[in-house]
């Protein structure tokens, strides 16, 4: 059991293949991509976020990840609020992004222990589906990549992005 998970976990995330995760995203009404601080140090993750955004998925940039994204032409819906704030907002049923209610959130580029707590909050206190496309398995997410080696991780991200449909 990893350090950022719990010994007593009531419901663990389903670890799914990237194509299946993408299908879930495709089926959702208003998914958003939430990006974290790893984008400041990993250009590959920036590239993945840009391509997800190109598929028509709005981005909420946390942890100052807005900077590399804006440089690549992305216009995040939020740039200023930390994941802690954004989670508090998402826990409120009245929260809207340009009039739309988030029903699924994809997480990319966060510290594992940090994201784990956020996923725990959403798991217990909201109905929003959470999808962790991180190199670590996240038991508190609704759906997660399994734990994989570095090289496999980027391959899985490729498959995930490739399977996303362009949203109109």
């Amino acid at each position: 059991m990893s350090v950022y998970a719990d010994v007593q976990v009531s419901r663990s995330a389903k670890a799914l293949e990237p194509e299946k995760l993408a299908k879930l995203v495709n089926m959702s009404k208003y998914p958003v991509l939430i990006t974290g601080g790893k984008l400041l140090e990993n250009e590959k993750l920036v590239d993945v976020a840009v391509r997800i955004n190109e598929k028509g998925i709005d981005v909420i940039a946390c942890s100052a990840s807005s900077k590399p994204l804006i440089e690549r032409g992305v216009k995040p819906k939020f740039t200023t609020f930390s994941l802690h704030y954004v989670t508090q907002f998402m826990l409120d049923p009245d929260f809207r992004v340009e009039g739309k209610s988030i029903d699924l959130a994809i997480y990319l580029g966060f510290m594992p222990y940090y994201l784990s707590r956020v996923l725990s909050a959403l798991k217990h206190f909201s109905k929003i589906k959470t999808v962790a496309i991180e190199p670590f398995y996240h038991p508190h997410a609704s759906f997660s990549f399994p734990k994989v080696k570095d090289e496999e991780y980027y391959e899985m991200l490729e498959r995930f992005v490739g399977a996303l449909e362009v949203r109109v």
């Binding site: 990893s2 350090v3 950022y4 719990d6 010994v7 007593q8 976990v9 009531s10 419901r11 974290g36 601080g37 400041l40 940039a61 946390c62 942890s63 100052a64 807005s66 900077k67 590399p68 994204l69 804006i70 440089e71 939020f78 740039t79 200023t80 609020f81 930390s82 994941l83 802690h84 704030y85 989670t87 508090q88 907002f89 826990l91 409120d92 009245d94 929260f95 966060f110 510290m111 594992p112 222990y113 940090y114 707590r117 956020v118 725990s120 909050a121 798991k123 217990h124 206190f125 670590f136 734990k147 570095d150």
Partner: protein
């Protein structure tokens, strides 16, 4: 002498009276009379509505805070295991066998954590108080120096008295202990049903924590001749590189200065002071150097394992709090003798207090006793010094060698260490690269690793990971300004107005443990950004150490409580001088009465004083209570990503307009205001994010237009620099075109018109429509109806 006379005359309002030198013999009498008048004045000060507040007395203030800054819970466990009806699965906010739901259970755990933190400071304070009364007598005066008249702002505001002698503090300590027990009682099974009530308990006990810290620190300052608000307190040689390893080294670890002080006194008495290095880790290091500037600070609490494993400590003496729970085992492996001194941390050691000094020393040096408990401090000092000399002669026998290459070869990159690392550091990748001769990642790891040793516990190949990491690093060296204690009343007089008006853009207070999310140098990078922008920075504890050892900031920035300066107040308990300083702004600058008047003072601070804490590596329960105590006082705190593990934040929702209102005493209206501050405790993931957030949390509704302009300038500039754009919410802080930075005014007016739909008169460059409210220089905000009614009369 001249200054003293002037002070006395000013006190007596006799500035124009001529006194010849011959009459100065009467100075004592004059001073005594002045003191007497002052006492009469002080005794006639009105006492506010809540002296010695009961656990429920300030609940109404908590409700006001919690309505705006809603708690957010991030459970660490889905289950409750506290009683035998469980384990209960509380997931999805289900109720357990006792009826408690998940949110309330999490709030209960937070209240428990804060109680633990407060109890640590309370016990520390009580110990110091009784020790000092034993030595100096109960009539020993509380004296923080000539320029500190408001000696105990927390005690005054909460407890409702101004303590003058040590004996006055006994009553305060009794109250502190009573309130902690009261809160602990509520945590028992079958008590509260609402998470808001547990939050109120957490806030209450954390406010009490600041009283306990203040008690502890004013006792030691008054009795041990610490610096008394001295901005030029000495620079202390710090870091492993500062140690003279040709001498025996006594390493002191913990938070309570008493054992180290006795050792220091003994060395002076025996004229051995220059022959031994006394070096400290964690807050004991800071307090020892406040007592003796020749002592050295080795580093933060994360240096414990690194130091022990390097084998140069000839004796380790521990007191209490934040000491590794495997210290005796680690010392034993290398034959380093350990002396324990506190009832809180006896570590299975035999009580040798009544044994002969030489017998104890022999047993320690020869390894017959791996560690001993000594409760008599005079005996401890003798044993410590003798043991250190003898142990020093055996230092070369300690086998600290590590074959780095062999250890690296043993690693199979399974990643188990990564999964168990509190920072999820990629130890596997660093070792894999090192196998190929590339040590760059390993070097990076050394900068980031807090040397907790969890990786070694799970490594099935037995790789000595910490030892490898430590060998890669270099011995750091720097200077830390000795903790100066209180902020002087005169400093508050100078900066109170610019802080409240906003022309000093804010007070940033980095406070906390060294459990940093990234390299330790990030803390210095964050802080230097604000020092260059002329914020006041006031620090304490392990953060204060890293700013010197890693950042070298004390040599670059002055120690006054003023714009662009860096103040180290001291150890954990000296945090009370930071809360004390913001309280003193309400008192000295604004003339608000302190005694028993907590809610009014906190309301004043929340609406007017742009002070923000930064807990960039908070780890302990004490850190939880310190931060929560600041929150009740109206001071927000930015915390590191690790702090999500405290499970609870207080985070407002800027987009809910009905949450952001105040009573305006001037207009007699309820007024919607800009969402500032928009959180009381909230985490950031990266230093870049933390910097922008800190700047935002310095806004206050009462800012003047000039102050708002300055704050907005920094917020916008920092947004551009670190977020790549202006922050999303900057327009919410604009009340008038005068709030806009001059050099950006046209551009910003354009954005307000085009992106936010505001109406602009371009001929006059005036905002016609758009802001949440209009700017009014006489705006006088409060969140409390009773305060509104009091000042409307």
């Amino acid at each position: 002498m001249a200054i003293k006379i002037e002070d006395v005359l000013r006190n007596m309002k006799l500035e124009n009276v001529n006194i010849t030198i011959g009459e100065i013999v009467e100075e004592g009498k004059v001073k005594a009379e002045a003191e007497e008048r002052k006492e009469v004045r002080e005794e006639s000060l009105p006492v506010g509505p809540t002296p010695k507040p009961h656990i429920l007395d300030l609940r109404y203030w908590d409700r006001v805070l919690l309505e705006r800054f809603e708690p957010i819970y991030m459970p660490m466990q889905d289950f409750c295991n506290l009683c035998t009806m469980g384990p209960c699965d509380l997931s999805f906010n289900k109720e357990g066998a006792c009826g408690i739901d998940l949110k309330t259970q999490k709030a209960r755990i937070v209240a428990l954590a804060c109680s633990i933190g407060a109890s640590a400071h309370a016990t520390h304070g009580r110990h110091l108080l009784e020790e000092m009364i034993k030595e100096f007598g109960e009539d020993h005066p509380i004296d923080l120096g000539l320029e500190v008249d408001v000696v105990a702002p927390n005690i005054m505001t909460v407890f409702g008295i101004k303590p003058k002698k040590l004996k006055d503090l006994r009553e305060v300590a009794n109250y502190v202990e009573q309130e902690i027990t009261r809160v602990l009682h509520t945590i028992h099974t079958g008590q509260e049903e609402s998470y808001l009530d547990y939050e109120s308990k957490a806030l209450h006990v954390s406010m009490i924590d600041h009283v306990a810290m203040e008690l502890a620190d004013i006792v030691q300052i008054s009795c041990l001749n610490y610096p008394k608000g001295d901005p030029d307190a000495p620079l202390i040689e710090s870091g492993v590189g500062a140690l003279d390893l040709e001498k025996p080294v006594i390493l002191v670890i913990g938070h309570n200065v008493v054992p180290a002080r006795f050792i220091d006194d003994y060395l002076r008495e025996k004229d051995l002071h220059d022959l031994i290095e006394i070096a400290g880790i964690c807050c004991t290091a800071i307090d020892t150097t406040r007592y003796d500037a020749k002592a050295k600070i080795v580093g933060t609490l994360s240096y414990q394992l690194r130091i022990v494993r390097q084998g140069f400590a000839d004796l380790i003496v521990v007191d209490e709090q934040c000491i590794r729970a495997d210290l005796l085992r680690e010392c034993s492996k290398l034959g380093i003798p350990l002396i324990v001194t506190s009832e809180a941390s006896v570590r299975g050691c035999e009580d040798r207090t009544n044994d002969d000094v030489n017998d104890i020393v022999d047993d320690l040096v020869n390894g017959r006793a791996k560690g001993v408990l000594i409760r008599d401090m005079e005996k401890l000092a003798k044993v410590a010094v003798k043991t250190a000399f003898k142990s020093f002669l055996r230092r070369s026998r300690r086998n600290v060698s590590v074959n780095v290459e062999e250890e690296i070869k043993k690693c199979v990159n399974c990643g188990r260490c990564v999964e168990n690392c509190p920072h999820s550091l990629r130890i596997d990748l660093a070792f894999a690269r090192a196998k190929n001769g590339d040590f760059s990642l390993l070097k990076e790891l050394e900068e980031t690793c807090i040397a907790c040793g969890r990786c070694e516990q799970v490594c099935h190949r037995g790789v000595r990971i910490v030892d490898v990491i430590v060998r890669i690093g270099e011995a750091k060296r720097g200077k830390v300004r000795a903790g100066r204690g209180p902020i002087k009343d005169s400093e508050i007089r100078n900066v109170g107005q610019p802080i409240v008006m906003g022309t000093i853009p804010g007070v940033i207070a980095p406070v906390g443990c060294p459990n940093y999310p990234r390299a330790r140098r990030e803390l210095s990078e964050i802080i230097e950004e604000f020092l260059k922008r002329r914020y006041i920075v006031v620090t304490s504890g392990c953060h204060a150490m890293d700013l010197g050892i890693e950042g070298g900031l004390y040599e670059k920035y002055g120690g006054d409580f003023d714009a662009g300066c860096l103040v180290n107040v001291g150890s954990c308990v000296a945090n009370s001088h930071i809360s004390g300083a913001v309280i003193k702004i309400a008192n000295i600058f604004a003339g608000r009465n302190l005694l028993g008047n907590y809610a009014e003072i906190a309301d004043y601070i929340l609406n007017r004083v742009g002070a923000v804490g930064l807990a960039w590596g908070a780890m302990s329960q004490k850190a939880a209570s310190i931060a929560t105590g600041f929150n009740r006082l109206g001071v927000p705190v930015v915390a590191s990503p690790h702090c999500l593990k405290y499970r609870r934040g207080y985070v407002g929702k800027f987009w809910k307009r009905d949450k952001w209102w105040v009573y305006d005493i001037k207009s007699g209206q309820k007024v919607y205001v800009e969402p500032c501050p928009d959180a009381l405790i909230v985490c950031a993931e990266t230093k870049e994010e933390a910097i922008v957030l800190l700047a935002r949390l310095c806004f206050r509704p009462a800012d003047t237009y000039l102050g708002r302009q300055i704050k907005l300038t920094h917020y916008l500039e920092l947004g551009k620099k670190y977020l790549g754009c202006y922050p999303d919410d900057w327009h919410l802080f604009v009340r008038t075109e005068q709030d806009l930075p001059l050099k950006m005014r046209d551009e910003l007016l354009q954005i307000l018109e085009e992106e936010h739909g505001w109406k602009i008169d371009w001929d006059k460059k005036k905002i016609l429509e758009g802001p949440i409210r209009k700017y009014d220089p006489g705006f006088n905000p409060t969140l409390l109806k009773d305060i509104y009614e009091k000042y409307r009369r």
